[in-house]
């Protein structure tokens, strides 16, 4: 038994290593702006990988994942700011910042997990919704968080020993983002494929049956929340490093919903799907913006479309994927694309168990 588990874990770790090296190599092919986008994708991926486990495997809908990212960002900003005051720099400052991010996000995630353990679907979604709405109030009331302006984050320059290899700061930030994402997501992949993942599916499938099998649903749910919060916190720290700022405006409800779009469109419960979704939610707004500005619309039309058209497209995607491909893109690409017509035909037969999430 132990042998099979460790070999599976080894497989996941090896695959993660290969993908990380590949991503690091890819940064050399990209210009500065693309590297910046890659870093943002990696940061969002940290959050979506946790969210996809939370929603897809345990069935807990969190609308407040942006808050967990914000916690990571503020944790990093506070700890790194403290490090600057005591004259730390380089790796030590970075490490202290990351510890700060993990501690703050983990603490808030733990509290949410306690709530999640007791609450069913709509109640948890509503609670996390209220949390997102209250975030700007928290940042303006708690001293040291800087109100609406947020906090500045110390700049991370390219370290001297890497300066001959890397050609821009953006590339170094992309490296940080990729390495942090690898550290954040690999444990989630191991969790998902192991016993913990099985327990999560069991709790989502049937809580009473899971309890009969000796699983404590509350514990499984709150652990899933903490795991998701930790990786979201790391994502928030990366985003803070890349943008050199953390403010409540960046982590509003719209961003939370964007994370949800990423995991649903990518395919709930699938880590690869979360990666695809993260690329989509970072690149599509930029693509649509470029498209609308290049068409040459009148100024007021363009102003109305900016920001809104993207939300329209994402909302439509969310509905379309849920109704037509409950498994998301990751399943659609895995040979289901051709079965669209069959699926539509089967709808008259109500007994086909169509599940949005992985069981």
């Amino acid at each position: 038994m132990t042998a099979t588990i460790s070999s599976r874990t080894r497989g996941i770790v090896l695959r993660a290593l290969a993908l990380t090296v590949l991503a690091l190599a890819a940064t050399f092919l990209l210009d500065s702006y693309r590297n910046y986008q890659l870093a943002v994708v990696a940061a969002v991926f940290c959050a979506t990988a946790g969210l996809t486990l939370l929603v897809g495997l345990t069935g807990q809908l969190s609308l407040g994942h942006a808050v967990l990212m914000a916690c990571g960002g503020y944790g990093y900003a506070l700890a790194a700011g403290f490090a600057v005051e005591v004259d730390l720099s380089g790796m030590l400052r970075f490490a202290l910042g990351i510890v700060g991010a993990v501690v703050v996000a983990g603490a808030v995630g733990g509290l949410l997990g306690l709530a999640g353990a007791r609450l069913r679907g709509p109640y948890l979604a509503g609670l996390t919704l209220a949390l997102v709405i209250a975030l700007p109030a928290f940042t303006s009331q708690v001293p040291g968080l800087g109100g609406d302006q947020g906090r500045n984050v110390p700049f991370e320059p390219v370290p001297d020993w890497l300066a001959p290899v890397l050609f821009s700061t953006e590339q170094w930030h992309a490296w940080i983002a990729i390495l942090v994402a690898a550290v954040a997501v690999t444990p989630l992949a191991v969790l998902r494929s192991g016993r913990a993942g099985l327990r999560m599916r069991a709790v989502h499938g049937d809580e009473v049956a899971a309890r009969l099998a000796g699983i404590s649903p509350g514990r499984v749910k709150s652990h899933a929340f903490v795991a998701g919060a930790l990786s979201a916190g790391l994502g928030g720290a990366v985003l803070a490093i890349v943008t050199q700022n953390v403010s409540p405006g960046g982590y509003d409800l719209a961003f939370s919903l964007l994370l949800l779009v990423a995991v649903v469109v990518g395919g709930l419960g699938s880590i690869g799907g979360a990666a695809v979704g993260s690329v989509l939610v970072v690149l599509l707004p930029w693509l649509i913006d470029t498209l609308t500005t290049s068409v040459g619309l009148p100024a007021d039309v363009e102003q109305r479309l900016s920001g809104n058209l993207v939300v329209l497209v994402f909302g439509a995607l969310l509905i379309l994927v849920t109704v037509v491909w409950p498994g998301g893109l990751s399943h659609a690409f895995a040979g289901r694309l051709g079965s669209l017509s069959a699926r539509l035909r089967r709808r008259s037969d109500q007994h086909v168990p169509q599940s949005l999430t992985e069981r």
Partner: protein
């Protein structure tokens, strides 16, 4: 003391609108066992229609009628053409589709009408009466109070006193058995959606004159407050929603008045957390099935 009385009165007026919106959440919960996260966005669509009608005819009452009719129509359309396509074995897909609908409706409205707030005039004066030198409710607040009480009374009669209400509750609780007994379950669920979104449209229409104006996001905060109320009172209880609405309205008003507006969202969050942790199903909720 004057200040306290004033804040209590303002809180009561605000709480009644929240209560009315929370009632719409209770209706849809009783009729279909779901929490409709798209309620606010759907209501905003109806209120835009009401706004257009009021602008064209100059009559608030025609606008109000238009809001009710459009609200019901939007509810029916969403249920028939969207929610029915979604598997309902777990609440998750329905919630995700509702969130997608919020994004589509709000962005479509923002694209069509721009980001500016359109002010709406109230049908009655918003100048508060003064009793013994203390400003209390305005005629408009009294109007909202009457409407809210009227809606609760009508719903109480409908759900508890008529065959239709019984059929609606039965369809929600035990669809299979109801179907066997000859209840047209899909029709009952559509009716529940229509009723619920008409009430939501009414609540938002009453809210808009007291706020900045009409905008795609005018009802977002109202939804969060109403959800808090619905949870506080239990999603099953209309009178719980009414009491909860007044409690939350007064809480917000007192916190805003004595501690600052910035703390109001935190107060709501704390209240919601405490209630959910102490009674996960709401204070007035009846016990559901045992799970262990």
């Amino acid at each position: 003391m004057d200040r306290l009385a004033f804040l209590l009165a303002t809180g009561l007026a605000r709480g009644l609108v929240i209560a009315l919106f929370a009632l719409s959440l209770v209706i849809i919960w009783r009729a279909a066992r779901i929490v409709n996260f798209a309620q606010a966005a759907m209501a905003i669509v109806a209120v835009y229609v009401a706004f257009a009608v009021t602008q064209a005819t100059g009559s608030f009452w025609l606008g109000l009628a238009a809001a009710l009719v459009t609200g019901a129509a939007v509810g029916a359309a969403v249920e028939r053409w969207l929610i029915r396509l979604v598997p309902s074995t777990t609440p998750l897909p329905g919630m995700i589709v509702a969130i997608g609908l919020v994004m589509v409706l709000q962005s479509a409205i923002s694209i069509a009408f721009g980001p500016k707030h359109r002010p709406m005039a109230a049908p009655f004066s918003e100048q508060p009466f003064s009793v013994g030198g203390v400003a209390v409710l305005s005629p408009y607040d009294l109007f909202i109070l009457l409407v809210a009480l009227g809606v609760v009374a009508v719903l109480a009669v409908l759900f508890n006193g008529t065959t239709l209400g019984l059929q609606m509750r039965a369809s929600a609780m035990a669809p299979e058995v109801s179907r066997l007994l000859g209840v047209r379950v899909p029709r009952m669920i559509t009716l529940g959606w229509m009723l619920s979104s008409a009430v939501a449209a009414l609540a938002v229409l009453l809210l808009v004159p007291t706020e900045l104006g009409l905008n795609a996001h005018s009802a977002d905060i109202l939804f969060v407050h109403a959800f808090t109320v619905a949870v506080l009172g239990g999603l099953d209880s209309p009178s719980g929603a009414l009491v909860g609405g007044v409690v939350v309205g007064i809480l917000i008003s007192l916190v805003t008045g004595f501690l600052g507006a910035g703390l109001a969202p935190i107060a709501v969050l704390v209240l919601l957390t405490v209630v959910l942790l102490v009674r996960p199903g709401g204070i007035f909720a009846a016990k559901e099935a045992r799970t262990a």
